[in-house]
Symmetry: C2
Subunit: 289 residues, 2 copies
Amino acid sequence: MNFIKNNWFSEIQDELWPGQMFSLKIKEVLHKEKSKFQDIQIVETETYGTCLILDGIIQCTSRDEFSYQEMIGFLPLCCHPNPQKVLIVGGGDGGVAREVVKHPLVKEVHQVEIDERVVELSKKYLPSMACGFENSKLKLTIGDGFEYMKIHKEEFDVIITDSSDPIGPAVSLFQENYYKLMKNALKPGGIVCSQGGSFWLDFDYVKKTMDGCGKHFAKVAYAVTSVPSYPCGHIGFVIGSLDPNQNFSEPVTRFTKSQIDSLNLKYYTSEVHPAAFALPRWVEKHFYK
Amino acid sequence: MNFIKNNWFSEIQDELWPGQMFSLKIKEVLHKEKSKFQDIQIVETETYGTCLILDGIIQCTSRDEFSYQEMIGFLPLCCHPNPQKVLIVGGGDGGVAREVVKHPLVKEVHQVEIDERVVELSKKYLPSMACGFENSKLKLTIGDGFEYMKIHKEEFDVIITDSSDPIGPAVSLFQENYYKLMKNALKPGGIVCSQGGSFWLDFDYVKKTMDGCGKHFAKVAYAVTSVPSYPCGHIGFVIGSLDPNQNFSEPVTRFTKSQIDSLNLKYYTSEVHPAAFALPRWVEKHFYK
């Protein structure tokens, strides 16, 4: 169930976050349609800017999206010694592409998004994110990430999966065989980073995703970032590396504060990077046992 | 405005967090009264355990309170070389006292809470927090923190202010003259730590509180912790030290993981400590300019 009532949009999701609900006050519903894959709503909110909602779940708002997009991009990119060729799976709003193309070592970015309508609507209503699609480093393919990776072996340095939550169409992106497919699409020493859910919500599901990743990747970790419009106000990333000596919490590319500002990064810094991997004791004990 | 409707409690606060709202599904309203100071509700929720609500604002839930209580306690305690004597202002649920008494160097804890009813109701409905009041290190005074500090000069090593939000009765606890009063109640080299609001919400208000602290304390910083039941899913602390050489992000008392487990700390570790001070670039630029 999800709804707009008395100008408030409420995000109710009994399976993923029972008993809690976040709501945003709406100025105007800008667009509403059912695409081939999902229900799409774009709303203008009172205090969170423009908001993209897929199947009743908030994907991003223009007020806080940068913390998610910068972190899912720069955490893996700064862990890889030379992330020249990057694949983004999902990310139809363009925000992750906008961040990934900024990294000075990145030469080519390939993106596969299944739902063309999300891309088209983001270009129209979320231009500050969709500007990522305009960059000359980026090549966008509309299609299925699974099929795409089956025919692109050992090609990428980093693969970023910017998916919706593990319910409905995105559920397969959290499973072990998806990690196997990514491993095969990576060059030696490659790194993957995926939206990994919240440890406050489904602890065991995050652990299961990490274990699935760990079957194919030598090193696995979990990092978090603060995003007020996501359930519990934060979101995590599952990150895996083929390099058995990987230390995720020490970025191999470090930026000075003036470089951070030149790159127009508002959240990520070389100090925020290690901090994202420092987990509460009860989480650390469970995830790394 | 705040209300319970169709078994959901919704936290609407047009002044502090306009346009957004967090709601918890309620099993049962355990208690409801208007004390001399505030409106008190205690509810049993579906998925967040027991929840204390003051003037319509969630103060703590038994599911996530430890991340707040441990951090507001251990951040300043582990920054002080010898925090023998501690004052807690507010904190009527007992959770901060429960954490502070754990610290091996702490010998005496004095607590001043203005609303006796919060203490009494917490003992009845929130025993896992109110157990803090049972410890032999603790002396509880029912009264006004301002008046208490006026007659206790240069007595404390650390003062922790566990207040509600800066609206209504708690507003004075965010102002410059409160920091002056705390400075006078501290011994040389003393440290204060106060609930400091969220940088996602009122950026300028947090900065103003830090500036008020900075007029009386040689070093000031801001740290964050993740608390899903608070607005934006996190909360910050304004921390000040009389020691001009203080480096807050390097704890002077460090604990091994096995010590952390013996102290029954579920959130705080000696690695989470520095991570709490690593702020997003846009916040850091504004707060430390």
